[in-house]
Amino acid sequence: MPILILEGILLVAMIAIAIGIIMGRKLLSAIIIYCAFSLTAMLLYALIGAADVAFTEAVIGTISTVYFIIAVKSVHNRRDKDGRKKE
C-alpha cells in the first residue's frame, strides 16, 4: 500500500508547517502558513478516501483564513481606545 508512504510524507510536512507557525515572528505570515496547513490537511483527507471531509475542509479552511486575516486587521488597527488615530 504505497498510499501509506504518501500519508507519512504529508504528515511530516504538516508537522513542519506547524513548527513554522509556532516559531514564526510575524502574525500575518503565520496566517498564510496556516492556509497552507489546511490545504495539506485537505490533501491528506482526500488521499485516505474521505472525499466529503476533504471538500468540507477546503471550504472551511478558506473561510477560517479569511476570519483570521480580518481579526488581525482589526486587532492591529491604528486607533487607540477612544477611537482616535495614532501616528
Partner: protein, 260 residues
Amino acid sequence: MEERKSRRRLAAGLLLVILLVGIGAVRVGKFLPTVGALDTPANTNISQYYISNAVADTHAHNIVTAVLADYRGFDTLFETCVMLLSGVAVWTILSAKEKVEKRTDKEMIAYYRTSIFGSMLMDGAFRIVVPIILIYGMYVLFHGEISLGGGFQAGALLACAYMLNRIVPKFDVRRKQKAREELGIITAGLGAFFFALTGVLPMFNGGRFMELGKLPFPAASEAELHADGILMVEIGVMICVAGVIITILEVVLERTDFDD
C-alpha cells in the same frame, strides 16, 4: 537579546515535546489496530449494515450523506444547534460595546471609489466568479445524495460567495450594517427550525421523531420518502450554516476598519 533567548527556549521545548511524544507513541501500536485492516472493530460492526443497506433504504447513493442525515439525524440536529449557538454567542459577545466611530457618507463614497486590486479588470473579475459559486453551491446541495457534497458544504459555499461579495467590491454603500447581522442570525434560526420541523412532521402521520419514512407526503415508496426527508434536512442545515457564517463575518467586520 531577550527575544532571542526566549525563542531558543521555545525551540528546545518543541524538540523535547517531539522526542517525548514520539517515544511514548511507539507503544501505541500495541493496542491500536493496523491501518487498513479489514477486521478491526470499527469496520466490522454497524458500518457494514450501513454500507449494505443504505442505498436500498434511502435511495441516497452517497452513503456518508445517508448516515449523516438519516441514520444519525439526531447527531446532525444537535450539531446544527451548536452551530446556531456559536453564532448567537459571537453576536452577543461582540455587540456589547459601542463600535468604532462610523464614517460619514462622503468619506465612505470616497473610500468605496478606490479600487482594491489596483486595476479595473481585477475588480470586475470577481463579479463573474460569484454567480458561478452560487450555482455550484446549489448543485452541491441538490446532488448531495447522489455524489459528494451535502448541506454543510453548500452552506459554506453560499457564505463564501457572500463573503466575496461583501469584502472585495464597493457597491451598495448605504445599507445599514446592523440589519445585516440580525438578518444573518434570524436566517440561521429559521434553518435550524426547518430541520426540527422535518423531524416533527412524521409525528402527524403516526411515526416517531425523525422517522423520515413516515413523512406525510405522497410518494411511491418508503425509500422515496427517505430521500425527500434527506433533502429537507440538508436544506435546513445549509440555511443554518450559511446564516451563522455570515453573522460571524458581519459582526467581526464591523469592528474592523480598512483605513491603512
